[in-house]
């Protein structure tokens, strides 16, 4: 029997992604005045999710698995256009709004996770507080 649903793992991946994104945004804002700096971006990696969702139905041993790329929750992306005259492409307004958005996203995930633990606790105590 499965006590712990897989959603805790999914939430964990989300928290990892959000934490990584926060770090990338911090790095971009830290380098807002650095000449020739190119911003870094974290993107979610759906490879694992796809792999789990699309498991190959094997009718023969020689059938191959659907190839999954990696088990990381995110991947890094380097953008290289120029935004400012000194070769820097950090748009501070975009970074600040991304920061706020990501923070709320992180809070939401933590609240969800808290709720999961709360319901587990409720089950463990048999609903008697």
């Amino acid at each position: 029997m499965k006590i712990f649903s897989t959603s805790i793992q999914a939430l964990e991946k989300g928290i990892q992604y959000s934490g990584a994104k926060h770090k990338a945004i911090s790095h971009n804002i830290a380098n807002v005045d650095t000449p020739n700096f190119k911003r870094k971006e974290i993107k979610p990696n759906f490879g694992e999710t796809y792999q789990r969702a699309l498991e190959a139905n094997k009718t023969d041993d020689r059938h191959r698995e659907f190839s999954g790329s990696s088990n990381k929750a995110f991947k890094m992306d380097n953008t290289s256009y120029s935004y400012s005259h000194n070769g820097n492409n950090v748009d501070i307004d975009k970074e600040m709004s991304d920061l706020a958005e990501n923070q709320i996203y992180y809070y939401t995930l933590i609240d969800q996770m808290s709720g999961k633990f709360q319901s587990l606790q409720n089950v463990i105590k048999g609903g008697r507080g």
Binding site: G19, A20, H22, K23, A24, I25, S26, H27, I29, A30, N31, V32, D33, T34, P35, F37, K40, S70, K72, K75, M76, I92, M96, L99, A100, Q103, Y106, Y107, I110, M113, S114, F117
Partner: protein, 150 residues
């Protein structure tokens, strides 16, 4: 822990921006200093100073992360590479009474433009504020994480 790293990133930027403000203060304070450096037997005016920054990306930690495939090598903030002197020509003013005037009555003044410095100062202090906001966001995220399991 990895979450503390984003605080280090922001604090490296705070340090860099404050150094920029310090250097700008020095430039502003020396806007009329005709005796900045004693070179070849005579005084040279103060030269405007500039802070040169670069992203801090070649740390051991980021290489380790890249090699172990654990996170794909984030940068870790900003570093000050050097304080450069501006090579722009000195301002020249006609003032025969000045103690540092040459035979023709001209005085060389520092290549500091107060207007430029004020613009740089505003840019530095705005960047500082932005990084304080990021630092507070990191703090908020960490405090929220501590609520987990309560």
């Amino acid at each position: 822990m990895s979450m503390f790293k984003s605080m280090n990133i922001s604090s490296s930027a705070l340090t860099a921006q404050r150094l920029r403000m310090d250097v700008i203060s020095s430039n502003m304070a020396n806007v009329d200093s005709t005796r900045g450096e004693y070179r070849n037997g005579q005084w040279e005016p103060y030269r405007r100073k500039l802070v040169e920054t670069a992203p801090k990306e070649n740390s051991f930690q980021s290489y380790l992360q890249k090699a172990s495939g654990n996170g794909s090598g984030f940068g870790s903030g900003v570093k000050v590479t050097r304080i450069k002197e501006d090579d722009a020509p000195f301002r020249v003013m006609f003032d025969p009474e000045h103690p540092d005037a040459n035979e023709d009555g001209y005085v060389e003044l520092p290549n500091v433009d107060p207007l430029k410095e004020m613009v740089d100062l505003m840019s530095a202090s705005r960047s500082y504020e932005a990084n304080v906001t990021v630092f507070n966001a990191s703090k908020g995220i960490m405090m929220k994480t501590l609520e987990l399991g309560k």
